[in-house]
């Protein structure tokens, strides 16, 4: 073959493979979103309709839903969870109404495949509604990971199939549930009796999810034409205010989550929404004055110290005090100087903090977007602030110099470079450096100036040029 033709083939082949690989990487990219914006809370109207749904299959597409406005809610990755999600369910459509007795939610989202069987490495589709128990809970929050307790209604496709159709979806597994020689299962061994397709849960933060004793939420889902349609039903109010969320006011906040089994979503790995404000219409049991009072409380945006924050702060303080021996004696000293730090990707504010050596200070950090950490070089202090959860550490700055504090929780692609400076004055280390340079300068100058005159000549590299 002609040499030039061979070269042309090699060049084209090289460029082709490279372009294909770049394209493949681009098409299959995943990870943190390019930009993260705090989305203003949307409002979902919960209108009054004198309609009672028994959650039959037809109720999922009942005429009532045609009359209720749809709110399209943009979802995002639950990015505090590693490994990072492969895919994202970008939008969920939500509708809600109440009939004076029960409240209904309907969630609809596109999913090209219904994942209804849970196996090892095979996960099911699902969705959830989360309602804060505390109306003063910070609005900026990530579902299931904030300071205030939350009531979660989680619907899962496998449980739906089991509850409504009596199927596990895995025929082979039936033998596990049936004793030998029995024709029918008469005693459930491994599968608890389901009272609903929806799990009624309580959670306070990551790792604290708890199944409630009284399961009072009902739900039903149907996958049709490439979309899941799931409805939830529960009474507006209950007697158990400790464990059940209440819809007694005109306003309440909720958030939504969707799990796509195809994309290996499970547990905390899911697509989530920001908080959505509920506008509950015509509550007959409430007087206007009460409504106004509730309206004010639900709009509170300034974070108030709650008992849980105090608890968290206490543990952080203990950790921080434990960091240096000198710190132990200062618990009785006057109030610390509180330094409020806000963290957002990939910046602290203030980003340069100056304190005097010996001061007792408290770092109080709030995250404006995702979970951030603050690790202080030299002091070994590490605090963490999830959205809505303040991170605190109190300590004595007993080491002079400039110290870097850096994010200790993976928060996005520039995470390793999320940095701030704490300057503990006097900065003796830098002053020492300046002195060393100054002395070297004087010495060098003196040595050169006092050097005896030499003969004219050219300095060369004798090692290589001799």
């Amino acid at each position: 073959m002609n040499n030039k033709v061979s070269i042309a083939i090699v060049i084209l082949l090289t460029l082709g493979v490279f372009t294909w690989l770049i394209n493949y990487g681009w098409q299959n990219r995943y990870g943190s979103p390019e930009t993260y914006e705090i989305i203003a809370s949307e409002e979902l109207t919960v209108g009054y309709y004198a309609e009672d749904l028994a959650l039959k299959e037809t109720d999922v597409f009942a005429q009532i839903w045609q009359n209720i406005p749809i709110l399209k809610i943009v979802l995002k990755h639950q990015i505090t969870e590693r490994p990072w999600p492969k895919g994202l369910t970008p939008v969920v459509q939500v509708q809600a109404f109440h009939n004076g007795k029960d409240i209904y939610f309907k969630m609809t989202w596109e999913d090209d495949h219904a994942d209804t069987i849970a196996l090892i490495d095979t996960f099911v589709d699902g969705c959830a509604v989360a309602i804060p128990m505390d109306t003063e809970a910070p609005l900026r929050s990530i579902m299931m990971g904030f300071s205030s307790p939350v009531n979660i209604w989680q619907w899962q496709a496998n449980k739906d199939m089991q509850y409504w159709e009596g199927k596990t979806g895995i025929e082979d597994l039936d033998v596990d549930f049936v004793y030998p020689f029995e024709e029918k299962e008469i005693f459930s061994v491994t599968v608890p009796e389901l009272k609903s397709a929806v799990s009624d849960l309580l959670s306070q933060r990551i790792g604290s999810i708890t199944r409630k004793d009284n399961q009072i939420v009902q739900g039903r889902g149907l996958w049709r034409d490439g979309s899941w349609n799931v409805i939830f039903k529960r009474s507006l109010t209950t007697d158990n205010q400790e464990q059940d969320s209440q819809f007694s006011g005109v306003k309440q906040t909720v958030s939504f989550a969707v799990w796509d089994g195809d994309q290996d979503d499970r547990g905390s790995r899911k697509s989530i929404s920001e908080w959505v404000n509920l506008q509950i219409q015509s509550l007959p049991s409430k007087k206007p004055a009460d409504e106004q009072a509730l309206d004010n409380t639900s709009n509170i945006k300034v974070y108030k110290t709650s008992w849980i924050e105090k608890l968290c702060s206490f543990s952080s303080v203990r950790t921080a005090y434990g960091a240096t021996s000198q710190n132990q004696s200062v618990e009785t000293v006057k109030e610390p100087r509180v330094i409020n730090i806000t963290a957002k990707r990939f910046e602290y504010s203030p980003n340069r903090i100056s304190v005097k050596k010996g001061e007792l200070i408290t770092f109080r950090m709030e995250s404006l977007d995702v979970t951030h950490g603050l690790y202080l070089d030299g002091y070994g202090i590490n605090i963490k602030a999830r959205p809505g959860l303040i991170g605190k550490a109190t300590f004595v700055v007993d080491k002079p110099g400039r110290f870097t504090f850096r994010c200790s929780e993976t928060c996005g692609e520039f995470h390793p470079y999320m940095i701030g400076f704490l300057e503990v004055t006097p900065n003796t280390r830098f002053n020492l450096f300046l002195w060393a340079i100054g002395i070297a300068f004087v010495l060098m100058l003196g040595l050169v100036l006092c050097r005896n005159k030499q003969k004219k000549g050219v300095e060369t590299n004798v090692g290589t040029e001799q």
Binding site: Y348, R402, P416, I437, V448, K455
Partner: protein, 479 residues
């Protein structure tokens, strides 16, 4: 003849910091097993192949990794934390261009030229066109390296961007090796090559001839033309008259082709090549300035606390990114060279040397910035390594972020090591760089101005500049 002897006498007194004789050498190849190894065809190819496997993993992790956070990407962490740090802290300062010796990136192109991996085939394929003479300098490398740093907010954090950079270098290497002769790509284009060449002048190793007289008598010059045992210098150099490390890729072919075993792999005091007045030029001077500028900009953008600048660098908005490029380019190509030009002009002025061109002063004295620049980079690299080094343990066990745990280290949490000592370490490194820079600055003044008294006067502005630059870096790193 007597003047020559006198000069030699002066030269023999030449010592680094007045302590270490600059003409001290120890030939590692004088150890028989090392010489034997250096002469084998499988060396360093066997290391290149191992390295190639590693880079394949890096490239794969880049393609698969997409936009996932860089600190959990094998490619990003390996290249920008481990490789870069090792390159700046160990390979270049100690082992010169050893990285070029084992670099797998241009190997595909070289194999296509040779159509052999281990064997020798001096009839090289490709078009074998000579590289244009006007471009036979560092300017392309300077510009390419600067342009590469425009994208540092992507390359250093996004796996796919890291793949694009490394893959792009491989592709460019293949394309150019199909068109131009031998390692023209490495010599004149590779963005990683330029600063290695410049900073390897500081290195503590070199490849040189043992006895120039033997080479002078050897008519065939097989180190240039090649023979059955090896290729003529792939880097288009003349190994028989090497004087400095800048352009030697340490491929070891000259060890294989020399019939007289006249090549040496020397250990030497650092920085001796700074005084070699050969092939100096504005291209190398500007490489110096660009490296200093990048050290500053990288620190400010990545290790500094200024979020706005980080947003510019990572291209959150096009306008911000363009601001970063403008600032960065102006700083590297204009501000720093401008400051140095003023210093050179003042140096020439106070020296009283009228017969020496300002251009000569400017170029010659710029070489004293090499120790300073290297110190700045080493100090910067500590700032990478100590806080982020523990990520390496994670990515070793889970290179493709698929949840693997190959070596049981996948779940080791991020653990900053010794960061309390980071600033003092950086100060110590900067101080060391300052002392060496000043020492070579004076020697370069002597070399440039010739007369000691003139050199003393000319040295003072340089000393002031070096001091101010060191203080500025000190302030940046810990002030």
């Amino acid at each position: 003849m007597s003047e020559q002897n006198s000069n030699n006498q002066n030269d023999n007194d030449q010592k680094m910091l007045g302590i270490i004789p600059l003409n001290w050498r120890f030939d590692l190849a004088s150890i028989p097993i090392i010489r034997w190894m250096l002469k084998q065809r499988w060396f360093p190819m066997i290391i290149i192949l191992a390295n190639m496997f590693l880079f394949m993993v890096i490239l794969m992790s880049g393609v698969i990794g997409g936009f996932s956070s860089g600190n959990y990407s094998f490619g990003v962490m390996f290249v920008w934390i481990l490789w870069w740090v090792v390159l700046m802290m160990l390979l270049v300062p100690v082992l010169s261009r050893t990285w070029c010796m084992i670099c797998p990136l241009p190997s595909f192109g070289e194999w296509l030229q040779r159509m052999k991996i281990f064997g020798v085939n001096n009839k090289l394929g490709g078009l074998n066109i000579k590289w244009p003479k006007k471009l036979s300098n560092m300017w392309i490398m300077n510009i390419l390296f600067l342009i590469t740093t425009f994208f540092s907010g992507f390359f250093t954090v996004k796996p796919l961007a890291t793949f694009f950079l490394l893959g792009g270098i491989i592709v460019l290497g293949i394309l150019l090796s199909m068109v131009f002769e031998k390692r023209s790509f490495c010599l004149y284009v590779c963005p990683v090559s330029g600063f290695q060449g410049l900073y390897s002048n500081m290195a503590m190793t070199e490849i040189r001839v043992k006895d120039p007289a033997i080479c002078a008598k050897h008519k065939k010059k097989t180190c240039v033309t090649g023979n059955k045992k090896g290729y003529g210098c792939p880097w288009l150099l003349q190994p028989h008259s090497f004087k400095r490390n800048t352009y030697c890729g340490m491929c070891l072919e000259c060890f294989k082709t020399c019939p007289f075993d006249n090549m040496a792999f020397n250990i030497r005091p650092p920085g001796t090549d700074l005084l070699v007045n050969e092939q100096r030029g504005l291209d190398e001077a500007w490489k110096n300035f660009i490296m200093l500028a990048i050290a500053v900009m990288f620190y400010v953008a990545m290790m500094g606390p200024w979020g706005t600048l980080k947003n510019w660098v990572r291209g959150e908005t096009l306008a911000g990114w363009l601001k970063f490029i403008t600032l960065h380019t102006t700083f590297g190509l204009v501000a720093i060279p401008g400051t140095f030009l003023i210093t050179s002009w003042v140096s020439k002025l106070v020296s009283g040397a009228k017969d020496i061109a300002l251009r000569t002063v400017f170029i010659n004295l710029s070489y004293c910035l090499i120790p300073m620049g290297m110190a700045a980079w080493i100090a910067f690299s500590f700032g990478f390594l100590l806080p982020n080094g523990s990520y390496i343990l994670h990515i070793l066990s889970d290179p493709f972020a698929l949840g693997w745990d190959l070596f049981g280290t996948a779940n080791i949490p991020w653990t900053p090591v010794g960061t309390g000592w980071l600033v003092p370490i950086q100060f110590a490194v900067l101080f060391g760089g300052y002392i060496i820079s000043v020492d070579f600055g004076y020697k370069l003044c002597l070399q440039t101005y010739g007369d000691t008294a003139v050199a003393k006067r000319g040295f003072i502005p340089l000393l002031v500049l070096l001091t101010l630059v060191t203080v500025a870096f000190g302030w940046l790193y810990g002030g």
